[in-house]
């Protein structure tokens, strides 16, 4: 399968820049995974920009390619073809040292299953990152941002799922990342806890001005975004800007 050029052209998602500077610039991104004899096209040629301080929700069903896109943004994977830049950094080149340094300096990750280190307390999980960052928040402050000041010395096994995910958010933002990438952050949580987690993400985005990308297959969450990008079958199918951002509390799913 080869990327469909006309589809790619029609998928330009250059919505109003809103006066903000561009942080990510993606041009003609394709990703093809060889799966034995066949090749699977995960991304079919995407042009996309992300702007400083915006909260973007990438929406799409499983297998749509949204995770592949997030991996490329996070420097975990490189495109098969096309160019991706984070400011002056070229993320298209497969160089482990460069990509590791990029992740370390600029990116905060939040995972669906939290991925906390079970042997470290909440505070220490955050400190894990602040110890290797240039200008971090104190771990206590990061935990305060996600309303976990009273659970700082608990180990993951002593925390609920929602609390664990908030620790993960604190850990992701403590290094004051330029971008916060969240992969199905509420995927393993119930509605009530999911809302608390989304509130934390929204607050970080608002108070620290961190460019935030959340991927989800849950359309309800799209309402909290500045901009919503729909992805299906490796292509951008629709992009729109929310006129009225809802607060997580108002969201239903």
């Amino acid at each position: 399968m080869t990327p469909d050029k006309s589809a790619a052209a029609g998928n330009k998602a250059l919505s109003t820049p809103n006066g903000s500077e561009t942080v990510f610039e993606l041009r003609g991104i394709t990703k093809i995974y060889p799966m034995g004899e066949v090749k699977v096209r995960a991304l079919g040629g995407i042009d996309l920009d992300f702007y400083k301080g915006e909260l973007v929700v990438l929406l799409g069903p499983s297998g749509s390619g949204k995770s592949t896109l997030l991996n490329i943004l996070g420097g975990l994977d490189v495109p098969t073809s096309g160019q991706v830049h984070y400011r002056e950094h070229d993320l298209s080149i497969d160089n482990d040292i460069v990509l590791t340094r990029y992740r370390r300096k600029h990116v905060g990750f939040v995972f669906q299953f939290y991925n906390l280190i079970p042997s470290l307390t909440a505070r220490e999980n955050v400190a894990l990152v602040t110890e290797i960052a240039d200008n971090p928040l104190p771990p206590e402050e990061a935990l305060k941002l996600v309303n976990l000041s009273d659970r700082m010395d608990h180990f993951p096994a002593q925390l609920s799922g929602g609390e664990q995910q908030r620790v993960a958010i604190a850990r992701a933002i403590a290094k004051r990342p330029d971008v916060l990438l969240c992969d199905e952050p509420t995927g393993a949580l119930d509605l009530k806890t999911g809302i608390i987690v989304l509130e934390a993400i929204e607050r970080v985005n608002r108070e620290l001005g961190t460019t935030t990308v959340v991927i989800t297959h849950n359309a309800g969450i799209a309402d909290i975004a500045d901009r919503v990008i729909h992805i299906s079958d490796g292509l951008i199918s629709r992009v729109y800007r929310n006129k009225h951002k809802k607060s997580p509390r108002e969201v239903k799913w």
Binding site: L76, I117, L120, E124
Partner: protein, 787 residues
């Protein structure tokens, strides 16, 4: 192939590194077992066959001189089946092209050739023939050392008279499987030889015509050894009997038995360590495998596979690894066993070695390894199959951690988060961590046990020849001689200094314990033969009383101040009580010591001496040898330093072979434990480590977390290994203590350093292999999967 067997094969392939490491440890255990047991069996079989077929005697006794007619009276003693009287004479030998002194022991065989007991196995040539009075058969090791062949001639000074002897045959005897000169510590094949000569010519040369000075016996099956020995001693006392003894105290037999005992010990200790470690490794590997396959097990159970079928599946996996190890171990064991047996053949001479590997040994190896492996496996498998399918489908809950002791002690601030991860991980499963460290310690201990013998032997020799017996040359006389002999020798050019000594055979009695040995008379202020106290400081023999080697004190159960009965077996044969003045430290041989003049008085003789120790100028040694060899009363000349040197030369090879096997085996344990611990740590923590990589940690940073734990375990294991190694060494030497020698527990720092280095290098190699795997962590899978 069923689907389940296909899964088995793939599981095995995917864990091939670990399977190989475990198989290696099992193989090492099996190899040591097979090696030592097969060598032991082979030597025992070879020994008993040789003893049987060549009619090795059961009782031995030397005496001064008895008429041949006494033979009939000996034969009348109940329990004696066969009697052979012999003449044994010491001689100084002259060998062309070898100017150093060589002592020979001439043993009579019937003129017709074939002895009744202690038959000779002829390697080359023939036995002596009647009527030819200068023919001899020489022992194989001596012949090899000098390259003798039948037809060669050697000179011998027997009883002060020179005789030219012709070698007609080269032979070995069950009596001299291990050829060592009486009183020597190490064999010296060049400077001591056994020669067999016809009874008539030897009797004539040694003034023993129609008489004998040695008897060997074979007992009937219902005989009681001690009774026979007592009656024999009573009968021979008037003829200067030196005390009869059984095989147990026959020198060649003793050395061989000691060697076999040591092998027997090796066949126990080493396989136990190896198989114990293998059981532990299998346990951790299988528990880990089972826990990563929880969901698969649940699915299998959901499909209707029974607990038995599932257990059997994992047991088959373990058995495959065990069989691989056993097969490798058997092959290596047979190879090592043959090599070892060959090495033994250098020292212990048999007609031929019958290498024997009993089927039972192989079966034993399989059974013992299987038992060890099953102990390690069953618990893990059992806990897996006991889970209900629905429960097993759920992932394992996150581990519960807490702050470690180190942190609670207030050192928390000093630790980075990765360091805390390492310490808490170890502390979470302290028993497992302890077992891992113990496994590594065992590797370290094996290395120490395998290499410290050299340190101990070096020390033993340094004490014996550097501090105690310091002469360059020891000359013994045929009979006690007047002190004039000392002055004669002292005046030889090149002799720096001389000291006389007296040695008398004696039996020591205390309560119900007896020991047949000798008393050494030492000159006061002696510099060449010094007695040492427990701190190895020289002590003077007291004017009254006797000093005993500490080990002889132990054998007799005496302490300083006790009164001991001494029965002298020479001269006027006095029997008297003497006070034990002190015990002296001595690692080689045992003896009683008295001041020379005290001993002379005790014996009721003038100032007689048995021999002289000399310090000499190396440059004049050949002149001195020549002069001494020509002296009529000289029975033997011993240069201990030379004997030592040749011993070290021959021992060098053996030590190298042992060291090589040992290092190989210990490294395989260290590697097996390390590699498995590292692989398991990797599989347990790959998710954590990948998460850290996603968060921007570099490869060296996550390697630190993974390998830091191993490094801590290794560093903790090494001192523990030192302690265990030392304890095992102490146990081994305790077991090997005899009146022949006591190996001191001396372990040099270099031996510890060597053991630690091998462990660290093995750890480093397994660390590097695992470290490479870190480069292939799947970062993306981490974002998705939940364990």
């Amino acid at each position: 192939m069923t689907a389940l067997n296909r899964k088995l094969r793939r599981d095995l392939v995917s864990m091939r590194g670990q399977a190989f490491a475990i198989a290696l440890v099992i193989a090492s255990g099996v190899a040591t077992l097979v090696m030592s047991v097969s060598t032991l069996d082979s030597l025992r079989l070879t020994q008993s066959t040789f003893y049987q077929e060549y009619r090795f005697a059961q009782v031995f006794v030397s005496l001064k001189r008895a008429p041949e007619s006494l033979r009939l009276r000996i034969a009348e003693i109940p329990g004696i089946a066969k009697v052979e009287t012999r003449v044994i004479a010491a001689a100084n030998l002259d060998i062309e092209g070898f100017p150093e002194p060589v002592t020979g022991q001439l043993i009579s065989i019937p003129d017709s050739g074939e002895p009744l007991l202690n038959n000779l196995y002829l390697r080359r040539g023939r036995l002596v023939e009647p009527g030819r009075n200068n023919e001899v058969v020489v022992g194989e090791v001596f012949a090899e050392a000098h390259g003798f062949k039948p037809g060669d001639k050697i000179g011998a000074i027997i009883n002060g008279r020179r005789k030219a002897l012709t070698i007609v045959g080269i032979a070995i005897s069950p009596e001299y499987i291990y050829q060592i000169s009486p009183g020597a510590i190490f064999p010296d094949f060049k400077r001591f030889g056994i020669l067999w000569m016809g009874r008539t010519p030897l009797g004539a040369a040694y003034d023993m015509e129609g008489a004998f000075n040695n008897v060997v016996l074979r007992l009937s099956s219902d005989a009681r050894l001690n009774e026979v020995l007592d009656r024999l001693d009573a009968l021979l006392e008037p003829y200067g009997g030196l005390g009869a003894y059984g095989r147990k105290n026959q020198i060649s037999h003793r050395y061989l038995s000691e060697e076999l005992r040591q092998l027997d010990q090796m066949a126990t200790i080493f396989p136990v360590i190896f198989l114990g470690v293998a059981a532990f490794l299998l346990n951790i590997v299988v528990s880990r495998l089972v826990s990563t396959q929880r969901e698969q097990i649940a699915a299998l159970k959901a499909f209707g596979y029974g607990n038995l079928a599932i257990s059997f599946h994992y047991i088959k996996l373990v058995m495959l690894i065990v069989l691989l190890g056993v097969a490798g171990g058997l092959a290596a064991g047979v190879w090592f066993g043959k090599e070892m047996s060959e090495l033994y053949m250098d020292y212990y001479r048999f007609p031929s070695l019958t290498y024997q590997l009993r089927l039972g040994v192989g079966i034993n190896a399989v059974l013992v390894s299987t038992a060890a492996a099953m102990t390690g496996t069953l618990y893990a498998v059992r806990s897996a199959v006991m889970l209900r399918p629905a429960e097993a489908m759920r992932p394992e809950p996150p581990g519960i951690y807490r702050e470690s002791i180190v942190e609670r002690l207030g050192l928390k601030r000093l630790l980075s988060q990765p360091s805390r991860m390492i310490i808490r991980h170890i502390e979470r499963k302290p028993f497992k961590a302890f077992l891992s460290a113990l496994g590594i310690s065992m590797a370290c201990a094996i290395l120490i046990v395998g290499s410290f013998f050299k340190d101990a032997v070096d020390f033993m020799i340094e004490v014996q020849f550097g501090l105690s017996q310091r002469e360059d040359l020891s000359v013994t006389f045929v009979e006690p001689t007047s002190r004039r002999a000392l002055y004669e020798l002292q005046h030889l050019p090149g002799v720096k200094y001389g000291e006389a000594f007296r040695a008398v055979p004696a039996r020591f009695r205390f309560q119900h314990r007896t020991y047949r040995g000798s008393i050494q008379g030492v000159e006061p202020g002696s510099d060449l033969q010094r007695l040492l106290d427990a701190d190895l400081k020289p002590v003077e023999p007291p004017a009254a009383g006797i000093m005993l080697t500490d080990y002889l004190g132990k054998i007799l159960g005496v302490r300083p101040g006790d009164r001991l009965t001494v029965e002298v077996l020479e001269g006027s044969r006095p029997i008297r009580q003497i006070t034990v003045a002190a015990l002296v430290r001595q690692y080689i041989g045992v003896s009683g010591y008295m001041r020379l003049d005290t001993l002379n008085r005790f014996m009721g003789e003038g100032n007689a001496v048995s021999g002289v120790n000399l310090a000499m100028d190396e440059r004049h040694k050949f002149e001195i040898y020549d002069a001494v060899k020509g002296m009529p009363r000289v029975a033997g000349i011993v240069q201990r330093k030379q004997a030592l040197k040749s011993f070290y030369e021959t021992m060098g090879e053996q030590i190298l072979v042992f060291a090589f096997f040992n290092t190989l085996l210990a490294a395989s344990i260290a590697f097996g434990v390390m590699y498995n611990s590292a692989r398991i740590a990797l599989s347990e923590r790959s998710r954590e480590l990948a998460t850290l990589r996603v968060m921007g940690f570099t490869r060296p940073e996550i390697s630190y977390i993974l390998l830091g734990e191993l490094a801590i375990l290794t560093l903790a294991a090494i001192p523990l290994g030192f302690v265990i190694g030392r304890a095992l060494g102490a146990y081994m030497i305790l077991y090997l203590q005899t009146d022949l020698f006591r190996i001191p527990l001396i372990i040099e720092p270099s031996t510890y350093a060597f053991a630690a280095s091998v462990v660290i290098v093995s750890a480093g190699i397994s660390g590097l292999i695992v470290r490479r795997k870190l480069d292939h962590l799947d970062l993306i899978a981490v974002l998705k999967s939940r364990e």
